[in-house]
């Protein structure tokens, strides 16, 4: 079959391309140029493409497959970076990887793959497409520590049959040993870190540039309205955070955590850890990977990337998912609430501010 592989230049997607080629498929590698690398690292004269595109091309050459670079800078700026800054300006904690998957990889790139007459689009995500009653379903990766299914909840149900995640059954060690066995020039490349478009790690600077109001100072207050200190812009705070509160980091003997961020009043509300837990939340922009449930759904909900799903009930009213957690949980607006039945992803949405 003809298969398009989304090649980021990292070891995972390189191994996907190599394994697909080894299996005898006609592999077309496509690398998305998402942002101007030179501008992102703030180095004048740095190449617009960066090392990753160069690496992807070297891997493709090594494999003897066709390889193309697609310019998605404008689209990425609008759909991911602007959304990222807007979300922070609303006092939320965005997950840009979901937006990128949702808007670029599994919509735009998928459309290109179909336009090129491909039979499938394969990526290096750690997740699995399994069969359920003859229908393709999204499931967690075999290696729970690597699982990326949380970031894939927004994949359209009708596209699952077109997608391939060949690493879903592998451990990272196995992936690296494939890379070595296949002689890929990226076998020893370190895993990518953090947010790709802020390689310096200072996302607050980027947010400040796009949404200056998110950098304006304001009060840090307790639930009962006592002012404990001042903050350096709401973009620097996320629910649950205990660092960066300065003089407001303690109220008497108690360590303070961010309970919520109020963008309108530019206030950061803090309280003791015990006050963080919430049972109820709402998720919007919901994507279902099953028939949307007509009655309350018992499932496990995962509310942040590095957290295990926890028992919950979800009521779907046709536009919003009303989630009731069995046990109180930390709820950060902007993050995803993803619903699981065992290994299977049922759907998910973006957590809204209470």
């Amino acid at each position: 079959m003809r298969v398009v592989v989304a090649m980021s230049g990292g070891v995972d997607s390189s191994v996907v391309a190599a394994l697909m080629a080894e299996a005898g498929h006609e592999v077309i590698g496509i690398t998305l140029q998402l942002y101007d690398h030179g501008a992102a690292v703030g180095r004048k004269g740095a190449c617009c493409a960066g090392q990753d595109i160069h690496d992807a091309r070297r891997v493709a050459d090594r494999l003897g497959i066709d390889h193309y670079v697609l310019d998605m800078e404008a689209r990425f700026r609008a759909a991911v970076i602007a959304d990222f800054a807007d979300s922070y300006a609303r006092g939320e904690t965005p997950i840009p990887c979901v937006r990128c998957n949702q808007k670029l990889k599994f919509v735009d790139l998928l459309a290109v793959a179909r336009d090129l007459g491909a039979d499938a689009l394969a990526t290096g995500h750690y997740a699995r497409i399994v069969e359920d009653a003859g229908e393709p379903a999204l499931a967690v990766a075999a290696d729970a520590a690597r699982d990326q299914s949380y970031f894939l909840f927004a994949t359209r149900r009708e596209d699952l049959a077109f997608l391939r995640f060949p690493l879903g059954d592998m451990t990272k060690d196995r992936v690296r040993s494939h890379a070595t066995r296949l002689g890929l020039p990226v076998a020893d490349k370190p895993d990518s870190q953090d947010i790709c478009f802020v390689p310096s790690g200072s996302y607050a600077d980027l947010v400040t540039k796009l949404r200056p109001e998110a950098a304006e100072s304001g009060e840090i207050v307790t639930e009962d309205g006592r002012v404990l200190g001042r903050h350096r812009g709401i973009a620097r705070y996320t629910v649950g955070q205990a660092k960066g509160l300065g003089e407001a980091s303690r109220d008497g003997e108690q360590r303070m955590h961010v309970l919520r961020v109020e963008s309108g009043a530019r206030r950061v509300v803090v309280g003791p850890r015990a006050a963080l837990g919430r049972n109820k939340l709402e998720a919007g922009e919901v994507n279902w990977l099953i028939e949307p449930p007509a009655s309350p759904l018992r499932c496990a909900a995962k509310l942040r990337g590095r957290e295990a799903p926890a028992p919950a009930s979800v009521r779907w009213d046709g536009s919003v998912a009303h989630v009731t957690m069995d046990a109180p949980a930390t709820v950060a607006p902007g993050q995803a609430a993803v619903f699981y039945d065992g290994p299977r992803v049922l759907g998910g949405g973006f957590i809204r501010a209470a």
Binding site: Q33, A49, D66, Y68, V69, D71, G117
Partner: protein, 371 residues
């Protein structure tokens, strides 16, 4: 899979005469600047190349300054005259190597076919009395549109401005006589005429000489320092000589006939839109858009079907960006939906037919997908 190469404006297939010249030069020992016999042999080869190029265009040999390519020749002219204190005016559809050599340049608008506006040029020259250099290309790399150089030159002379002409797409396709008569400086490229990559030339035709960008050992009469890349230069001279002889002895007409065959065949693809049909253009270049289909998708799909074409001008990363040329022509969305077909000197009717078959199949598939 048989490949059909229709991307001549990116680079032409090597001409046999150029290949022979390169090989001979590779075996020539000596640095053209050295005093000994070996050096003098290399120098002789360099000067023969200069004379061949001069004869091909009817200019004096001392007008010819070799560079490492078209980009460098353009940069020396534009940046070199700017350094000397001239204001820079560049056509809106000039190649990036002109635009990026003069970041502060004023932009001369073009019409819907990509022809520079002479009225706008006159206004710009009249509005500011400082001496200017105007950069206008002979023919556009993406659309093939030929600029009104004689008229632009008359304006430049009236306002004491210099005219620099990027003529890299000309040799082997159209006569350069008018461009040579119009230009104060003119840039050429070896590989765009079927020579090896790595050599170009700046013809200095008038009194004014641009400041050198790279001084080095003062080679090329101070215009471009650095030991001359003799194999590339010898190959370039042979290629341009051969390309011009080929063009005059029927090659030019052959290209025009093939272009006609291509345009006639495109009539069978009703969704295809040929761009810049209202201006004179190169006999080897067709720019055509498929509304609703991204340029990059078309280039990839055709490549997979065995056809090499391009879109926009490629960044070194290989990404296909929207064409600034088509955007400047006011084509809006179509600027991101066009490809360029440029016929090499080796093109045949078989190539045209292979392109038409692949293109119409692609257009039909994309139309089905969109429906």
């Amino acid at each position: 899979m048989t490949r059909t190469y229709l991307d001549a404006n990116a680079t032409e297939p090597l001409r046999p005469a150029a290949r022979d010249a390169v090989l001979a030069a590779l075996d020539t020992l000596g640095n053209p600047s050295s005093v000994h016999r070996e050096g003098r042999a290399a120098r002789r080869m360099l000067e023969e190349a200069r004379e061949r190029l001069a004869v091909a265009f009817g200019v004096r040999p001392d007008a010819v300054h070799f560079t490492a390519g078209g980009t460098e020749a353009n940069a020396i002219a534009v940046a070199g005259f700017a350094t000397a204190g001239r204001r820079v005016i560049v056509g809106a559809t000039e190649h990036d190597c002109i635009r990026r050599a003069s970041p502060g340049a004023e932009i001369l608008p073009v019409d819907g076919d990509g022809r520079a506006s002479l009225a706008a040029l006159e206004e710009m020259l009249e509005a500011d009395a400082r001496p200017a250099v105007v950069a206008l290309m002979l023919a556009n790399n993406e659309t093939g549109t030929i600029q009104p150089l004689a008229e632009a030159a008359a304006l430049c002379r009236r306002y004491r401005a210099l005219l620099h002409v990027d003529a890299v797409q000309g040799p082997g396709r159209i006569a350069l006589d008018e461009a040579i008569a119009a230009a104060d400086t003119l840039a050429l490229s070896g590989h765009k005429a079927g020579g090896p990559k790595g050599a170009g030339a700046l013809l200095v035709l008038g009194e004014a000489r641009p400041e050198a960008v790279i001084r080095g050992g003062g080679q090329e009469r101070g215009m471009r320092g650095g030991t001359e890349p003799l194999p590339a230069i010898a190959g370039m001279a042979a290629a341009i000589e051969a390309a011009e002889a080929w063009r005059r002895s029927g090659g030019g007409e052959a290209l025009a006939d093939l272009k006609q065959r291509l345009l006639a065949g495109l009539a069978a693809v009703p969704s295809a839109r040929v761009i810049a049909t209202g201006a004179p253009s190169l006999p080897n270049t067709v720019s055509l858009a498929l509304p609703g289909a991204a340029s990059a998708t078309q280039v990839m799909a055709l490549d997979l079907a065995g056809i090499a074409v391009s879109a926009g001008s490629a960044c070194s990363s290989g990404k296909v960006a929207e064409s600034h040329v088509l955007a400047a022509m006011g084509l809006g969305e179509l600027a991101g939906e066009a490809i360029r077909v440029s016929l090499p000197w080796t093109a045949s009717e078989t190539d045209i037919d292979a392109f038409l078959a692949a293109y119409s199949a692609m257009a039909a598939r994309l139309a089905r997908r969109a429906a």
